[in-house]
Symmetry: C2
């Protein structure tokens, strides 16, 4: 098969056949297709897009490039959630034990923080002793026993995605919706998930800032996932302000525990329940979203979700006593306030800048080799639409000896806009799509 | 400078600044910019194009990547022609001595055949003894003394073009008009040319089959060349049939000699005179195209052009006695005829297929390492619009022991379409553009 001809076909808007895509991807991995040919192909995909069936084929070929978790011995429909990434997004840590408490099986393979968004594995590293490196057998057994597990990606997990993503990152071809979909879905399929809810974040703290772009991504995720034979739905959720009240690894664990105690910020709880309801319906564990919501709220309120959280954390060698003794969590030595410079109403929040503010305190990564300070971060006390007095505390910064403090304050001063106009609180779930509506 | 950001800028339709283009191109040559980044950039250029000033900057940076012939000591405006490549296109071999006979200086740096089109250097190799590897000093002296020279590209001649072209060839990014223009013009500028006429071939035997595409290319060649400070005009010329009556290296030398003797096919002579007239006007050697045409026709008719041809060939160690003794040219041992299968009018010729027919006889290259049989080729006796009788000789094939003969016949049978309808002879010059009309 002639590689330039395959690139040309995509360049001219053609739809590649399965053997053609396989030739490109497996050739790239084996070295018979050059990196400079793949990058030209990826740029052609950026401009020409892919048909859902074509992207599904790409996804399948990528998925088969490495280890695939065989969960056929685990009873029930394996269901999972994927978020496109946001600021303060700690949903997975509540959601996995919550749906497990409802009888679902959630095989979650997570990633690390990069850029302005946090990473689930980094948040889990705040729990003393937590191990994300289960063997396949341990993963399977834990899913059978506990119903949920959150593990990291081994080197042989979807290597095609690793290689392609590294290439896209240095060739300005990250922002291609079919390539994003193939990257996400190949990993979810390889993890053994059969049903998915996609949490497509939308707003200033999200990968997709505009509702239009987020909808496009959500639609293609649902279409391509459906082509792959999965049950897929998607929620577009709010990222024009941080989710909940905390940004930063250990601080977010506090919020996770708050929500599991039936307390905590309403937005974090509500979006978790909404996403969980999708999963329960997908897994035939509820007949309707309403029924599922009721069930999940009950499990949060009666302590079942918290009990499942402790069971899960302990199964992965984490210390479950953090629930009773939060002093076991990392705590930054210093606090500083960021106060309202004037009275008024919070008009908007540049949420990406708030994520970056957490990073400059030491709580995130700019390049993947950066180490993370799990203790630092931000408490965001007020959100868009709130009336504030001059000098009122908007954010508490948890820092270590002033590291990054001035830059973080500067970012917050620019990020949080206070004005005269009344502003309605932001809606949490902007849209819902499934195979019948995508 | 961040390479992915530069790629992204072009991807989003931005216009790159000089230092940005230099960073990419010189970085690619030095190895600090990866091949996979350049190929993604080239694909982005394919989709987004380049402003004329931007393409001129790219051209200048490419031109400066290697040896530049300094012809400032040679008096007069150095003027040259470039053809985008066709079948039977032996124009350069008549044109260079013809304009030199008129007092012009033509520093021609030529290439080899690849694909279905011939190469000037390969045609020159049919002349016993001809050397294309002059030193810069020899090139300059010959231009001073003779007025024309046709040499080949040394390894250090526009290495950026060699590297970029090799990359484009394997990444389906050849067909980008600004990249084509930069490739052509960087080499012409490095050869010392100050004024150019572009022979943009148009039709089934050309790189640009449609008039629309050929016009686009011609317009950009003129715009970018003008941005570079050159005098540039362009003729769109006919390539829906071979030029002249011969296709194949030594056979084309026969036709060159015929034209220089004041005979030969009218289309070869006329298109040479049209292109030469552009060059004489550019070089201020004629006040009008009409005056220039008169001058050039006179030089063909009175033997001056032939005398200059012999002087030039001898200066480059070629045997000038080929003029008196054509038996010195390679001659294929065998002849075969291709006759009209029916009576009618020649409706059309797939000219690319006719070029390929010459190749399969051994007269061209499919890959650059192929060796060429200079003796083989085709005589095309009749062209589009001609009335033919059943069994009338259309083409004489000069072959060597039947090599490729059957395939060549098959190609001709498909290429030459005979029908009932009367067809007008094809016009030779389809359009003319210069800086005021491009």
């Amino acid at each position: 098969m002639n590689v330039p001809e395959l690139i040309r076909k995509k360049r001219e808007g053609g739809v590649l056949a399965e053997d053609e895509i396989r030739h490109l991807i497996t050739g790239f991995l084996s070295g018979s297709v050059e990196a400079y040919q793949i990058s030209a192909f990826l740029m052609a995909v950026f401009f020409r897009g892919m048909e859902p069936s074509e992207a599904a084929t790409l996804t399948r070929i990528m998925m088969k490039s490495g280890r695939i978790y065989d969960l056929s011995s685990v009873p029930g429909i394996k269901t999972d959630k994927h978020s496109t990434g946001g600021v303060g997004d700690k949903v997975s840590l509540v959601l996995a034990p919550l749906v497990a408490a409802a009888g679902a099986v959630d095989p979650m393979v997570s990633g690390r923080a990069l850029g302005h968004t946090g990473g689930t594995l980094d948040k889990l590293d705040s729990i003393p002793g937590y191990r994300w490196d289960l063997t396949e057998e341990q993963f399977r057994r834990q899913l059978e026993k506990v119903g949920c597990a959150i593990i990291g990606q081994t080197d042989d997990f979807v290597p095609a995605d690793k290689r392609l993503y590294a290439m896209r990152d240095v060739t300005a071809t990250v922002e291609s919706i079919p390539l994003i979909c193939a990257s996400i879905l190949s990993k979810k399929a390889a993890s053994g998930a059969e049903a998915l809810v996609m949490d497509v974040k939308c707003g200033s703290g999200a990968f997709m800032a505009s509702e239009e772009d987020a909808l496009k991504l959500a639609r293609q995720l649902v279409s391509i996932g459906t082509e792959l034979g999965m049950k897929v739905s998607a929620l577009l959720t709010q990222m024009n302000q941080p989710l909940g009240t905390t940004v930063g690894n250990a601080l977010e664990i506090h919020e996770v525990l708050d929500v599991l105690e039936g307390k905590g910020p309403a937005d974090t709880r509500d979006v978790t329940v909404e996403l969980g309801a999708e999963m329960l319906v997908h897994a035939n564990l509820a007949a309707s979203h309403e029924e599922a919501r009721g069930k999940l709220n009950g499990l949060l309120d009666d302590g079942s979700a918290m009990a499942k959280f402790q069971e899960w954390v302990a199964a992965q060698k984490g210390d479950p006593r953090i629930v009773e003794n939060r002093a076991l969590l990392a705590d930054a030595p210093d606090r500083a306030g960021f106060d309202a410079p004037r009275a008024g109403v919070i008009q908007s929040m540049n949420t990406r800048a708030i994520g970056v503010a957490c990073n400059v305190l030491g709580g995130g990564r700019v390049v993947s080799s950066d180490t993370i300070d799990h203790a630092v971060g931000l408490e965001v006390h007020l959100k868009v639409g709130a009336e504030v007095k001059a000098g009122e505390r908007l954010v508490t910064l948890h820092h270590r000896g002033g590291k990054g403090l001035e830059e973080a304050r500067k970012l917050l001063a620019e990020a949080i806009v206070i004005g005269e106009e009344p502003v309605k609180p932001l809606e949490l779930v902007i849209a819902r799509l499934d195979a019948t509506t995508a």
